[in-house]
Subunit: 523 residues, 2 copies
């Protein structure tokens, strides 16, 4: 190392930090010039993990080697945009760089890949390293695949859940009763949270609802709520709103709840992995970290739902209950009808419209969305020690019909920052395409997966006004040429993709009333 | 899209290609400016896989989004150094870019991740996509982990092997008998190929030996041969040398043999995955693609070898034999003594010295390396229909002792391009450290893994003169303070790491002669 090279207090060579304006989408990348003395002296390899330090902070990054001084010079260390933000020091600030130590939990990961059962400490170490983004994509994928397919016994699922809670912030509302609800997903239009939160928080229970954006669906609760109000709330604002209004409907990403879950989802999604163990750990860790003491969990069953039979639903219910009990969470699992989408709209604006119609007691409102929301709200209200089992539904209905739920929703929307959405004139995608019945018949199937796919191709959730507006329900009779659903889009290319998909498979089957699938459950 | 944007013949928008001087180490990266119309119109996401086309060629790349026109401008598409080379067109050439189609074999991958048995067509499709680098790191890892741990039955291992052979070039030497040898690895210093090739090819059998560089060991055959001669031979030169001299000792990377294997190894290595199914498919596919008709396979057993018991070795032997028979490869498995390193030197130059001493019939030559090489060469010579079983060893010994093997090695070295190595004055690392016996005793263990680790930390194979020079063998008596081995290095930092490791654990155990481990096999 030449005598000119700067050194930091511990004698490590330092370089000048440079922001490299490349967006590597969540993957930290460090750029060193090939002629940089540090690069040569340390014997780094491209794609190696390096640790960059400045001002007592450290981040991990993947190394790219640069041959162009216009990008970084010999005496500089470049960081991609996200990585630069994370380190939080200014351009030109001295930084030091060293080979990153391999994550401590790698031996435990190798044991899991080798088929062994892991203990509490192993899961804690692995999840800590994942949350600190010390795992490479290869290591993350190995963990996800090795834990797939019932490879985790229920004790391991408990250890994983506990470790995920511990990996991030855990909220404490200083209340004996903090309620939450969650659905395992897979049913388009199922926006019950946006009704259950105002009803139950109007009743007086604390309900700090944080939700995710859509991962593979056409809208998550956070996407639909974003039509009405700001959902990206700084942590202090979120807690302030809950203290004042007893409830909120926010995006959970800012609260650092179970951060390892977010890292794992980025790998699970492209592999379509959604194993029971990982689902239970993901959902329960988020809810427990959010401070919930009582949770109502919705497991829909249907031929195109995530869960397709009652025995499967019961197995999943037992796993949820086992882990919840170990984590001291009071859990009420409800198994619901998942044979078709809930409500009419599928897509953020369309779903926001459906929700507001129910809150306004509009006679046109979707009855299935209303009924399911009242039942879920009733179950949560019954968590209150003053309410007798069976009385919750009536209380919820009174709150909705009296307009108190609407008032409460308006207060939450105002507190989060209203967006000025008028559901009587929803800003739907200007391009409209009708999908019609080829023959007359009774609706015998509405494919959740295909309807979601058409809505996504039309642009949802990125284009909030895009999506599918269903005009029929299971068991209804349709004339030949009758409208089955309308597709809304903003861009011709999106509409072309959605039309191709719906022409290949509309997602709606017509037949005779005898063919309408049996209702698995009566909730 | 604005009217100014150029379009290619199929109406796709084109951009001007720009080489971005960033070395992303084998991962193709494409750079688009955030304000580029194509980026916005196509709705790309950062980290998406895109397909870049020009002149009828196409490559796949991961997308990074750039906010600095000094890196790429709105009208440009940047490619990282490797990707630019692969596309093979000049700076400024028009290119088109589109979202890459997901690999066709993804449904089969998902079935394997879900625990299903796959068929011949499934493996063919998966391996084709892997060889064409259509799989992301996530998908590659999922495949490797899902095939780990006996998840493949032997029929599936056969399908995988066959698919790997078909994924690349398959050499045909137009000879009825083409021999090869391979060791499953794990034994430092085990450089028998560099003796077996000259002996057997001097006898007259065709022996086109291609080998790998070290992956996790201190030297592969290609690293050690590179001390003597050029090993990176263009394909035509390689085949020319084999036609003229009946043998070669080349690096296999240029011949495009079983290219899927190279892609998979990049994922298996950081996960330390070396399952029987993957080992069999990897080794046999390379050998069959290289045109071998007869293979001798060396499986060493020992307490620190890859295979640690005779039942395990026999299971592995049966799997190799099953797949070889399905692939019409004549296979002779030999189970050998893997209790300690072979020869004295561990590291490219040290091993080259050992090999040359044996070829020169130097009385100082390592007898274990000589004996093992003669036995393996004898087995291969017996593949010849003229040779009676049991006569091969004597023929091999005559070829070695007569100096014909040395002459043949010199001819191969000259043909490949001699490096001017003088084994009487080997260019060893200038820094030397001796590791000595703390007490007197009999050598009862030499840890293959620890010796390899010390040699790697000292710099091998990147620094050819670095490594470990063993001074003792199992069963020998050492005085207190006697030299166990010498460590050679070129750089003080390397030597410091190697010394720390050898001080923590020298890798050599001393005790009484009764404690010397039992020889599993007599080969």
């Amino acid at each position: 190392m030449s005598p000119e090279t700067e050194q930091d207090a511990s004698g490590r060579a330092t370089l000048a930090l440079r922001r490299v304006a490349i967006d590597t989408y969540g993957e930290n990348v460090a750029y060193l010039h090939r002629d940089c003395e540090v690069y040569r002296a340390e014997g780094f390899q491209a794609l190696a993990k390096v640790e960059v330090r400045a001002n007592g902070r450290a981040i991990l990054a993947t190394l790219n080697v640069v041959d162009d001084p216009a990008i970084v010079q010999n005496c500089e260390l470049g960081l991609s945009e996200d990585a630069f933000e994370q380190l939080g020091v200014a351009d030109g600030h001295p930084v030091s760089v060293a080979q990153a130590e391999p994550p401590e939990s790698i031996p435990a990961l190798f044991r899991k890949v080798g088929g062994e059962r892991l203990g509490r400490e192993d899961f804690a170490a692995i999840v800590r390293d994942i949350a600190q983004r010390r795992y490479s994509k290869i290591e993350l994928t190995a963990f996800v695949v090795a834990c797939n397919r019932g490879e985790l016994d229920r004790e391991e699922v408990y250890f994983l859940t506990e470790a995920m809670v511990q990996s991030g912030r855990r909220l404490d509302w200083h209340e004996p009763l903090v309620v939450d609800k969650h659905c395992i997903g897979g049913i388009p239009g199922n926006r019950t949270s946006m009704l259950v939160v105002p009803i139950v928080s109007a009743y007086g229970l604390v309900f700090p609802k944080t939700s995710s954006r859509a991962i593979t669906s056409p809208a998550g609760t956070a996407d639909t709520m974003a039509v009405l109000a700001n959902v990206e709330l700084p942590f202090e604002q979120l807690t302030g709103i809950v203290r004042e209004h007893r409830g909120c409907l926010a995006w959970g990403g800012t609260a650092d709840l179970s951060p390892a879950d977010d890292v794992l989802i980025a790998v699970e999604r492209p592999l379509s992995i959604d194993s029971p163990g990982q689902m239970v750990a993901s959902i329960l860790s988020k809810k427990i970290a959010a401070g919930a003491t009582h949770l109502v969990l919705d497991i829909p069953i249907g031929p195109t739902a995530k869960v397709r039979s009652m025995p499967e639903a019961q197995r999943l219910r037992r796993l949820f209950e086992y882990v919840a009990q170990r984590m001291n969470l009071s859990l009420d699992v409800v198994i619901t009808d998942g044979r078709q989408p809930i409500g009419r709209g599928v897509g953020p604006v369309l779903e926001a419209r459906d929700v507001m119609q129910v809150l306004e007691n509009d006679p046109q409102a979707c009855d299935d969305l209303r009924q399911k929301s009242l039942r879920l709200a009733g179950r949560l209200i019954e968590c209150s020690p003053d309410v007798r089992g069976g009385d919750g539904y009536g209380i919820a209905r009174d709150i909705l019909e009296s307009g108190r739920a609407l008032t409460q929703m308006r207060a939450i929307v105002q507190a989060q920052g209203a967006r000025g959405f008028d559901h009587h004139h929803p800003p739907l995608g200007a391009l409209v395409q009708e999908v019609r019945a080829p023959v007359a018949g009774v609706v015998t199937g509405i494919d959740n997966l295909q309807i979601a796919q058409v809505a996504r191709l039309a642009g949802a959730p990125k284009v909030p006004g895009a999506g599918v507006d269903l005009q029929v329900r299971l068991g209804e009779t349709v004339a030949a040429g009758g409208v089955l659903y309308r597709v809304h889009a903003n861009y011709p290319a999106d509409m072309a993709f959605a039309r191709q998909a719906s022409e290949r498979l509309s997602g709606i089957t017509l037949g005779t009333s005898a063919q309408v699938p049996h209702v698995f459950v009566e909730f």
